[in-house]
């Protein structure tokens, strides 16, 4: 048998023994390929000119992925080297040279990587189609299947894989070249090196780290940015301290509480965990950090999506909006001229927005929510304009009785104003509140229908107030094309450059905002989720490989316990508990850090923007849900495999 055929045989065995790792590599290869597909897809790039930055963003994300993956591959390869030390020792014993073994091992990993890449490319095509469908849905274009197998994407994926394996192999190659027969053959008899040796020191670290963990969580929950940073630092110190000292903390705890030790399955569960963690403290803490990054990436992705989608929804009731303090401004007149000449209009209306004498309503809102003040006084609109605008938008008609005023606001302000019943005094006339309306009304743009809310008052009352700005709104016969709105923006820029940027005119086009929302969603959410997925897969794979490598030892343990009279149900419960704690330990700190970070970030966003599925609570829930979904798949795979192979029948 030649060494290369031995390599192939070992590669086959490796895929079987480390199936979870192999599957993970396949999935990551598929992800890399699918995203590379986006980079090279002319069809998707042509959907919007705003997509031009997507390629560089995806490539940047891929570079991070390469580093994470080379860490995973390097970790797994080194883990295999340790697990198979006896086998390598035997090769050396029968006269194979270190150099040859290194080559053989390299070939073996190359074969595994090659197979994973090939399968990944196939799966990647499906994933690419999914991404295509998502992009099409974002742009409101109907999806149709079209087979696309860009050789450039294949080439780039191959290049990334070569990089991953080259980076990963560096450490193992050096290790193989230096290994000695004795160390390898008697490796199993050696006790594994522990990262921290002195037991009393460890106990101190254990106690201090727990305290830091509690302090860190409290600080993060406090909500302020600076305290949050200190809190995050405390949690990182807690992670490393806790995982490095857990193995000695358990015996110390049991020593103090012998009664708890012998309660139910405590002894077996915690001793098994402690023995596992005594050698993988640093890796557990690192995994925990990866999971923090995962949850935050997912949360940020959702928040970005929410901001764009929210803006597009809240302002999207009119197709075009023009607004200016002075309608004689050149941008206003030129834009209006362009619109009238080039875009078929279904309906349009020009009206004025006025300023009240006080800012009482605004102050009330400010005192109850983090409202962004833009006007000096409350904004006011004429009743007849309001009724006409409602009719234009197809909203149910409203009436205003004499001596009353209405408020039209965003839904979040409606909640703030639920107890508001103050009168408004304008031009000496006192008006009482006649109702609150919350339909979409372009109130998320500062210079249109008020910022978040507007007061609707009888015409003659409004007309006595000073004018804030004039607005002209349009409904078009069909969606404004990209060419049209690009031309409008070019026109606007040309004028502004000429007149020296003194411009107070707002030009808003719904189609452009939608395209922006779609492009930005794709450009921020895609890479963040791409990273999050790879991070979760990496963390879960390492945890699972570690757990499955203990199959033989667990089998012997449960066989003995069966002889000693442990019931099947108890064995299952003990395995389940140990499993739950093992996988929960690195996942709890990320939840403690991730959730407050997401909630605090969502709070920075202008209130009322994150609506529907993008509400802060929903964002947090979905981020955690997605993370636990991927994580749970790995836990389930590991548990099913262990249960089948470990528990005696």
């Amino acid at each position: 048998m030649t060494l290369s055929s031995l390599s192939l045989r070992n590669a086959k065995r490796q895929t079987g023994d480390y199936l979870v790792y192999f599957v993970s590599i396949v999935i990551v290869a598929a992800l890399i390929y699918a995203f590379n597909g986006l980079v090279f897809s002319q069809e998707l790039q042509s959907l919007s000119s705003r997509f031009r930055d997507l390629s560089s963003i995806i490539i940047s994300a891929s570079i991070v992925v390469i580093f994470i993956m080379s860490w995973l591959v390097s970790y797994t390869i080194n883990f295999m080297l340790t697990q198979r030390s006896r086998e390598f020792g035997t090769y050396l014993l029968i006269g194979v040279e270190n150099k040859q073994i290194a080559r053989m091992f390299f070939m073996e990993n190359l074969a595994v990587g090659g197979c994973a890449l090939a399968l990944g490319l196939l799966l990647g095509n499906l994933l690419f189609q999914m991404l295509r469908a998502i992009v099409f849905a974002l742009f409101g274009t109907p999806y149709h299947f079209s087979f696309f197998f860009p050789l450039k994407a294949v080439g780039l994926t191959l290049f990334y894989f070569v990089l991953i394996y080259l980076l990963a192999q560096m450490k193992s190659r050096k290790r193989i070249r230096r290994m000695k027969i004795y160390d390898l053959i008697y490796y199993e008899k050696k006790n594994e090196e522990e990262a921290l040796k002195a037991s009393p020191v460890r106990r101190w670290i254990f106690t201090i780290s727990i305290a830091l963990g509690i302090i860190g969580t409290v600080l993060i929950m406090a909500g302020s940015l600076s305290l949050g940073f200190i809190g995050a630092g405390c949690i990182i110190a807690f992670l490393y301290g806790f995982f490095l000292s857990f193995a000695s903390g358990v015996p110390a705890f049991f020593h103090k509480h012998p009664t708890l030790k012998y309660k139910r399955q405590n002894l077996l569960v915690f001793r098994t965990l402690a023995s596992k963690l005594s050698t993988m403290g640093i890796i557990m803490a690192t995994i925990s950090m990866l999971l923090v990054a995962t949850i935050i990436s997912e949360g940020m992705g959702m928040i970005f999506r929410g901001i764009f989608a929210g803006r597009a929804t809240l302002n999207g009731c009119f197709d075009i909006l023009l607004s200016a303090h002075d309608t004689n401004e050149e941008v206003f007149t030129a834009s209006l001229d362009y619109i009238e000449k080039n875009i078929p209009i279904k309906a349009n209306m020009r009206y004025q927005v006025y300023l009240a004498e006080t800012s009482k309503t605004m102050e009330y809102i400010e005192s109850r929510t983090s409202y962004y003040r833009h006007y000096q006084y409350d904004t006011v609109m004429r009743e007849s304009d309001y009724i006409a605008l409602r009719a234009m938008l197809g909203y149910p008609p409203v009436t205003l009785t004499d001596g009353q005023y209405l408020i039209h606001c965003q839904p979040y302000i409606e909640k703030v104003l639920k107890d508001w019943n103050q009168n408004v005094i304008l031009g000496g006339k006192t008006l009482t509140l006649g109702g609150l309306y919350t339909e979409t009304f372009a109130q998320h743009l500062y210079d249109v229908n008020g910022n978040g809310f507007i007061l609707v008052v009888p015409d003659q009352v409004a007309e006595d107030c000073p004018v804030s700005h004039t607005t002209q709104v349009f409904l078009t016969q069909e969606k404004v094309t990209e060419d049209c709105y690009n031309a409008l923006f070019v026109l606007e820029n040309e004028i502004m450059e000429r007149i020296g940027w003194h411009n107070n005119t707002l030009v808003y086009i719904k189609a452009a905002e939608d395209a922006d929302a779609a492009a930005w969603t794709a450009m921020t959410v895609f890479p963040l989720y791409y990273l999050a997925l790879v991070l979760t897969i990496t963390a879960a794979t390492i945890l699972t490989i570690q757990q499955l490598s203990e199959t033989g030892r667990y089998r012997r343990q449960f066989l003995l316990l069966q002889k000693l009279g442990m019931e099947q149900k108890e064995m299952q419960r003990s395995l389940r508990t140990q499993f739950a704690i093992y996988y929960a330990m690195p996942a709890v700190p990320p939840v403690l850090i991730g959730v407050p970070v997401i909630l605090n970030t969502a709070r920075i966003v202008e209130p009322g923007t994150l609506i529907g599925a993008s509400r802060p609570a929903a964002v947090t829930g979905i981020s955690l849900g997605l993370f636990f979904l991927v994580y749970a798949i790995y836990i389930l795979m590991a548990y099913t495999s262990l249960k089948k192979n470990v528990l005696p029948t």
Binding site: K261, Y262, L267, K563, L564, G565, M566, E567, E570
Partner: protein, 252 residues
Amino acid sequence: MLQVKNIEKYYGNQNNVTKALDRVSFDVCDGEFIAIMGASGSGKTTLLNCISTIDTVSAGDILLEGENIADLPADRLARFRREKLGFVFQDFNLLDTLTIEENIGLALSLNHQDPGKVQNQVKAVASKLGITDILEKFPYQVSGGQKQRAACARAMVAGQSLLLADEPTGALDSRASKNLLEIMTGMNRDMGATILMVTHDAYSASYAGRVLFLKDGRIFNELLKGQRNRSVFYHEILDVLALLGGDVSDVI
């Protein structure tokens, strides 16, 4: 205490049946120390596995304290094992993640013993077997003899009525073997433990009060120690082994 009645055990499929035990019958009385001897493949371990309920018999009955173990459902069998049987194996079978104290206490913990009392019970048994000073250590930190004594402690700490030992001296040097056998004799004599030991070592068997010889799955002979001293009994055992066939050096 233990009645083995006409048990038979077959392995294999329709085309290839191996008879591991062939109509084996014997009784073990309360407080007896009995050894089962035989060459490799004679059915010793199969017999022990059947008695310890790890394996089932193809025919016949095994009664422990009047209870037929073949009639017990799986969960009752587990309870039966942890309450009534204690095990000592050739390779110790201690869990390497637990200390010696915890390995012994595990048997009590499995029996749902009050967690507050476990430590004291373990200490009491450990002092009888002379392993008090190694209770805090892990199995890899103590000698083979100490490990086997810890296994003995685990086998009796929960008040198990029958101690089943499978080649307990197999992995020990001669001094540790002698020490262990004396401890087992002491457990039998002073604490009234009933011991059933499987061995192919005549020296170990000479510590028992009665020796059963198995050959090809059948009981071939039985020797009673009676009032003879251990050295005479040892030679008698060797004589029977010579009759059983095979080289004496194979079985010592």
